[in-house]
């Protein structure tokens, strides 16, 4: 082999299209994902615009563009006057169907999620503190009662995975996990999930926590991989092949 091969295949990656998201678009997606994932629960009140635009590092006008868009789509509603503010809608609009591109590349999305979650499993096993795991136990218990109500189950599931990410103490992994869960929600929320499947999945959650408590990173990673493979099999049966 030659160390100076002039045209490595990875050039395709180096020269792949560059795309820049505008501040408006990213804000819209951030808030929208948080709402769809239930991180911002129905009825919750968003921070005041003046505070929010500071935290997001954008101007108020740009923030308002995003808030307006989310209000128009029914995710938010604004209340003026005393006690007013911007609130997450109590009755959220249905999750929109997966975009054409997402459908075309669902396997990519799963691969990215796999990568993120394996890292989370490994690092959580190394770093999680007991008080960070306790709420996850509660979520597992709660999910056991929700296997017949997929939307509710799914919301708890999201919190479980993001809670695990937080146990790594790595903000970037939390952000990546959030994004990955958002993509999955877009893919799976309109798919029927039999109770048995969910029970099985939740059993994996429990075993995962157990391994993490035992600081057994290898086992945690193994269970996580298995857990995710479950979702992939469901999708593989229902969605078109890789794009």
């Amino acid at each position: 082999m030659s160390l100076s091969t002039p045209d490595l295949p990875s050039m395709d990656t180096v020269f792949a299209p560059v795309r820049s998201q505008t501040a408006f678009e990213e804000t819209l997606e951030r808030l929208g994902t948080a709402i769809k994932l239930g991180l911002l629960a129905p009825g919750a009140r968003l921070p005041a615009e003046r505070e929010l635009c500071t935290r997001l590092g954008i101007s108020r006008s740009t923030l308002r563009q995003a808030l307006t868009a989310l209000a128009q789509s029914g995710h938010l509603h604004a209340v003026r006057g005393r006690g007013g503010g911007t609130f997450v809608a109590e009755r959220p609009p249905p999750v929109d169907p997966p975009s054409r591109e997402l459908l075309a590349s669902w396997r990519e999305a799963c691969d990215v999620r796999l990568s993120v979650e394996l890292g989370i499993a490994a690092l959580a096993a190394a770093r999680a503190r007991p008080e960070e795991l306790a709420p996850l136990d509660e979520l597992v218990v709660a999910m056991d009662d929700l296997v017949e109500d997929f939307p509710a189950y799914r919301q708890a599931d999201v919190r479980f995975h993001i809670g695990l990410a937080e146990a790594t103490h790595s903000p970037r992994l939390v952000a990546a996990a959030t994004e990955a869960q958002g993509a999955m929600t877009d893919l799976i929320s309109n798919i029927a999930h039999p109770a048995e499947i969910l029970e099985h999945a939740n059993a994996q959650h429990a075993r995962l926590l157990s391994c993490i408590r035992g600081r057994d990173a290898d086992a945690a990673v193994r269970i996580m991989a298995e857990h995710l493979r479950g979702t992939e099999h469901v999708l593989a049966g229902l969605l078109p092949g890789d794009g």
Copy 2:
């Protein structure tokens, strides 16, 4: 625990600053990283501007902004006329020292890399084709002879890891791996690496390939985690604590 807790810690992630990288910035970083990693070897000729801007999906002006910046910093030089083009400098400028932010968050960088590489190990074990692994064998052999020459070793190492990423057939993971390797290069290129360390690391490379050939994802992930932990220990001893 309440399912509607209004202020989860993950809100910090949702409301984290939005920073949209411009097309120019991303192009600059892409090409710059590829050069520093040796993916674009010294003396190599880039595609013509008119082709490159098409592949990158940007206008020629934007591309030229990036090329101009890289030429000024000494990474590229342009030649006009017949047989001309834009070439990677034969004598590249020294890798710039890690930025203050990178130093402050080196552990974050390692966490991200861990995540990416574990996913790669797992997926490569599932999907790699023999003809994709053969070049990696050769790289391992070559690296054995380069343990005394860190820059050369490192370049082969980069190609090994990116080659592995390519074996997953997931462009996003290739891109993520490239970016992660770039961040590591910024961190470690100015650090002394004893031959014994490199020999040990390369032995892990060999075992990794063996597991992947055997489709043993669990073992591959385990070895990869161990492999990366090696680098982290070196850095943990030399760099300031987490930022």
Copy 3:
């Protein structure tokens, strides 16, 4: 002597290198000179980009190249939003030392200035209107109080000479005077100027105005020549010989 001598010495001029300054370069130099000369005072606001590029007869991108360069060098700073604009820095960066070429050819620069200023003296004597000379009187008075503060004196001096150029009603001479003063500023701004020298020079300013008022072109030219010779003597003592 033959009228068809094939190789006159002036051929060196005819065949001297053609160097076309780009629109960007000329814009940079124009604005930079105006700032360094104080024609654009610290804190002053430039016309809006969209207007400026029209006046300069160039595209906005080209203008912005120049503005960006001047902002990076600290001469300008941009403010966005309502009431925004591009402003001359309040605390300007120090005048950069004369370039190697300028130093090597300072005598050339003085010759050009001599030529420009003699023409200005002659034409101002022929054409200046009283209301154009009045401000120059005031400048002379002001300069008398500034002989201990060279930077301030020099700024008034620049305005005096350019004001005189304007009294010729010849835009090309105004431009030439501005350019010549810019070259002189680069040469002399870092040189000590005793108060006596400045007093003497300012006395010449006064006599110059008097001659011009009297429409005595010959005397005006004579005084101007003497005035400029003063600077040259100072430079001749401090700078290396002709390049």
Copy 4:
């Protein structure tokens, strides 16, 4: 008066249109002017293309563009083979009539010339060496015999003024004088010049040389100003007012 008047009239100069000439255009004008002024005499052979493009600092293709244009307009003709080369046409095409812009701004052109020539007079008086003035004496003698043949007179006149410029030893002034003479030629070559006018003008040439020999700069400048005023009066009577 205020030292910080925000909007000086000189801003019009700072913000005046920027124009960049291409290398081709400047080459064309340089060679064209040299030919029209007789600096490159009819029948003279230009340096070889390979040498010329080096001296002009341009590529051969750009040079050829200019040469081709001048050949098409009849100013040059190329001869191939042994003893070949590019030659100035023996029977030059008539000087083209002044362009609309030149006509509109003839007074500006005169002002610039005045400026250049006054500086030349002053500096020549200070620096001219006898051997540089001798050829100018011969030109004056020759011109006395050419007052009936304006084209021939004019060619000698041009050489006189450019020769004087060379006596200043300032390349920039030689270039400026050449350019100014070129502009004047475009203006005046189609105007009738009575012998008496030329005799008077040539007498001024002689007195000018005398003053310069005597190192009397003031007188030289005075005579030069007077000399140029002669041309201006002629033009003022024949051309439209200032543009």
